[in-house]
């Protein structure tokens, strides 16, 4: 039986999860990534496995996706999460008031919650601000951003997928209105060559607009960076969130011996030029310090920016990026008269597998392949298997 | 899958001497390691030379007396001090390596090094004085 060949552009979590899904469905998969895997946005996120609490009130679609994926990932990637749960902490009367809507919304989305008193919260997390009034416990977890995604790459590789890193797309090959592959440079040698495929999938995250430009289709991607701060010292064991609508610096994630405070939001044109606004870094100290005062004196480890791939109108205005949805979208560019080219973008690290499933469904339907998704059950190989 | 330990780095072949003795940007532990190797080689060479010298005894009294005059010269006395340094460093650092190798003083290995070197310097100065005055 002839195997259909899928070429995936982009080696982030989305590309990795998609390579994993398509390999399991029996396709021949080649993935090209211009750098190291997860060197775009995926590696840089603060390592939070969302339970969906942050989206329950305003973005129920995202919240439901999150809690579903949260459980699937814990099952398919055992040993990759610090199962310490998370707290949404109320620091003001306004926050306490918000807790009712918050808990209600979580319940509507299927996110388990537990209301905690001030004393209970402080016994679980002694470094919390004395201003703490109450808290809500939800099943957040910490993950290693890169190594989690690496498990998809490892499993895909072992199932026959070719992962070509340091391989950059120069142009997309077309025959008439059909995309037939890509011309690439292998940066380890400088050699250029062509890869033919039955379908090309654009999974380049914040760069997916640039790839779409090569094809002449529009992908409404708005790279939206945020700043994160890592300080030395594991100041909490659970993920700590502010019990309020999404705002800057309202989350602290423990990572090994560090505490990561995030994040902010602004919009850029070029995902390779994010900058690092100093006032945003200071804001992390200030806002993080409101949740856990020790953050303010903790020694600095790193400050960095990462671009969310937000879907929205590309040419239109969007102030900060926060108002754009965090859900994902799969574009079949046949809508624009281009065959053989699909884009998957938007989303977040927690939902990468779900994004891949939706995309793989579209891809298989286009190619006439009758194969269902197995990634909800398939246990992934350990990340070290990537290096076999 | 390649066998562990059999990966050739064809563009950067292994250079053991550089690996052992290029101590730029390295900390005191590596300096101690490199000097231990150097003094170890030096002392081994000295041992061979010493045995060769002893064979001069076979040449009889005159040959031996000529040799003794030579080695009492300031130049050779200085070499003796260098030899003493090699002996003291290798011995005292060796004590440190032996201790940490058994798990003793691992967390204080830098301090241990300097303490032993301080002992060594005292002994070296005393020894040098004796070498030049006796």
């Amino acid at each position: 039986m002839e195997k259909f060949h899928a070429l995936i552009i982009g080696g982030g979590g989305t590309g990795g999860a998609l390579a994993h899904d398509l390999a399991l469905r029996g396709l021949q998969v080649t993935l090209v990534e211009r750098g190291e895997v997860t060197s775009g946005t995926t590696g840089r996120h603060h390592g939070l496995l969302h339970a969906g609490g942050r989206y329950a009130v305003k973005d129920k679609e995202s919240a439901i996706e999150c809690i579903e994926e949260n459980l699937i990932l814990k099952k398919t990637m055992p040993g990759s999460f610090e199962h310490n749960d998370g707290l949404f902490v109320a620091l003001s009367d306004e926050n306490v008031e918000y807790s009712h809507l918050f808990i209600e919304s979580c319940e509507e989305c299927g996110i388990p919650t537990k209301r905690l008193t001030r004393e209970e919260a402080l016994r679980l997390e002694p470094n919390l601000s004395p201003e703490t009034k109450m808290a809500v416990q939800i099943p957040d977890a910490s993950m290693d951003a890169m190594r989690l995604a690496l498990r998809w790459f490892a499993t895909a590789k072992h199932n026959g997928a070719q992962i070509k890193t340091y391989t950059e797309v120069i142009s997309i090959l077309k025959q008439g209105n059909t995309v037939t592959g890509a011309r690439v440079t292998d940066h380890t040698s400088g050699q250029e060559y062509e890869i033919g495929a039955d379908i090309v999938i654009n999974a380049a995250g914040p760069w997916s607009g640039q790839i779409a430009d090569m094809v002449g289709v529009e992908v409404p991607i708005k790279p939206s960076p945020g700043v994160m701060l890592a300080v030395r010292g594991r100041l909490c064991n659970m993920v700590i969130n502010r019990l309020a609508p999404s705002g800057d610096g309202d989350i602290i994630v423990p990572q090994r011996g560090l505490s990561v405070v995030g994040t902010t939001s602004w919009v850029v044109e070029d995902p390779d030029n994010l900058g690092l606004p100093k006032d945003h870094v200071q804001k992390m100290y200030d806002e993080g310090g409101k949740l856990i005062p020790l953050v303010k004196e903790a020694p600095f480890r790193a400050a960095w920016a990462a671009a969310r791939p937000l879907i929205g109108p590309r040419k239109a205005e969007a102030d900060t990026g926060r108002e754009l949805s965090r859900t994902f979208k799969c574009f079949d560019h046949i809508d624009e008269g281009v065959e053989g080219f699909v884009t998957i973008t938007g989303g977040k690290a927690t939902t990468a597998r779900g994004m891949a499933e939706a995309t793989a469904d579209v891809v298989c339907q286009k190619l006439g392949i009758d194969a269902s998704c197995r990634t909800r059950e398939e246990i992934c190989l350990p990340h070290t298997a990537y290096y076999d | 899958m390649q066998e562990a330990g059999s990966m050739p780095d064809t563009v950067r072949p292994k250079r053991p001497l550089k690996s052992w003795f290029d101590v730029r940007h390295r900390k005191v532990g590596t300096w101690a390691f490199a000097l231990n190797r150097l003094t170890g080689i030096g002392l081994s060479l000295y041992l061979i030379i010493h045995l060769v010298i002893l064979s001069l005894l076979l040449q009889g009294e005159q040959g031996w007396n000529d040799f003794v005059t030579l080695v009492k010269s300031p130049f050779f006395l200085t070499l003796d001090v260098i030899l003493l340094f090699g002996f003291l460093f290798h011995g005292l650092n060796g004590v440190r390596v032996g201790l940490v190798g058994m798990g003793i003083g691992v967390d204080n290995q830098r301090t241990l090094f300097w303490v032993l070197m301080a002992v060594g310097i005292v002994l070296l100065l005393a020894g040098a004085w004796l070498i030049f005055t006796l």
Binding site: E36, S39, T42, G43, R44, G79, E82, N84, D85, R123, E125, P126, Q137, M146, Y166, H187, T188, S189, G190, A230, R234, N237, Q255, R256, G257, V260, D272, N273, L276, V281, A302, W304, T384 | Q2, A4, G5, S6, M7, V11, R12, K14, P16, S19, W20, R24, H25, R26, K27, G29, T30, F33, N36, R96, V97, V100, G101, M102, G103, V106, Q109
Partner: protein, 241 residues
């Protein structure tokens, strides 16, 4: 307005097929917050898109951006260019690992050894032990410190001369299995390191622990392995006491 300065980056370049690596110099304007990683990314973006390097998390958690900066093994994401205090910053790939291209080294061999003792990546957290556990949580978990960066292997003088030496990272991993077995078998780990290319090959340079960016202390782990093996040998020699 942040103070900006011109810095010269001397980067070792290599492409497959070249005879040997050569240095290439780039001039770049940096500010007090610019890390060497961001500088290299800017160089890639604006001056030479063929420059390749490994990076991912940008905060010392993934270990992929390990390289030699001014001769010292460091994670480039946490080294600020101006903190180095030199007009020229020398950037080279890690030693003792095969070079693929530019600053990218082949980690396959590293992982061959690292995974041998069948280790776990999660353990019980030693932080905030006085805290209560939340409902539904059995114990506080955390990832091991080791971020698999390879800096220790690069800095080790023995790894530079003995291709079969297990190396500080793998030995530290073996010690972690012995110290907190969880579901692994400490006896297997001890047997694996008990040979002339294992924990006995170390000659106490301690450079591995000096360069480790993540408080793993591989040297301490190696000495602990020796201590444990010695104790077990004594016990066997003198019968159980």
């Amino acid at each position: 307005m942040m103070a900006e300065q011109q810095v010269q980056f001397k980067v070792l370049r290599y492409k497959q097929g070249q005879a040997s690596p050569t240095f290439q110099t780039f001039n770049l304007t940096v500010n007090e917050d610019t890390t060497v990683l961001v500088a290299l990314q800017d160089i890639r973006r604006d001056q030479d898109p063929t420059l390749i390097l490994r990076h991912s998390c940008h905060h010392a958690s993934c270990g992929t951006c390990g390289m030699k900066i001014n001769g010292q093994e460091q994670l480039s994401c946490v080294v600020k260019a101006l903190d180095l205090g030199t007009q020229t910053v020398m950037v080279e790939p890690l030693d003792n690992l095969p070079l693929i291209s530019d600053l990218v080294v082949d980690m396959n061999g590293f992982y061959d050894r690292y995974t041998t003792p069948e280790m776990m990546y999660l353990r019980e957290s030693e932080f905030l032990t006085e805290a209560d556990l939340p409902e539904g949580i059995e114990k506080w978990l955390r990832f091991e410190n080791c971020v698999e960066c390879g800096c220790c292997v690069s800095a080790c003088p023995i790894a530079g001369s003995d291709a079969e030496y297990l190396g500080p990272a793998a030995l530290a991993a073996a010690w972690r299995v012995v110290a907190e077995p969880r579901e692994s078998n400490p006896q297997e780990a001890l047997e694996w390191v008990d040979n002339e290319h294992g924990c006995w090959r170390c000659h106490a340079a301690f450079e591995c622990s000096e360069v480790c960016p993540s408080d793993v202390d591989p040297a301490g782990a190696i000495m602990s392995l020796r201590g444990e093996l010695t104790r077990r040998k004594f016990r066997r020699l003198f019968g159980r006491r």
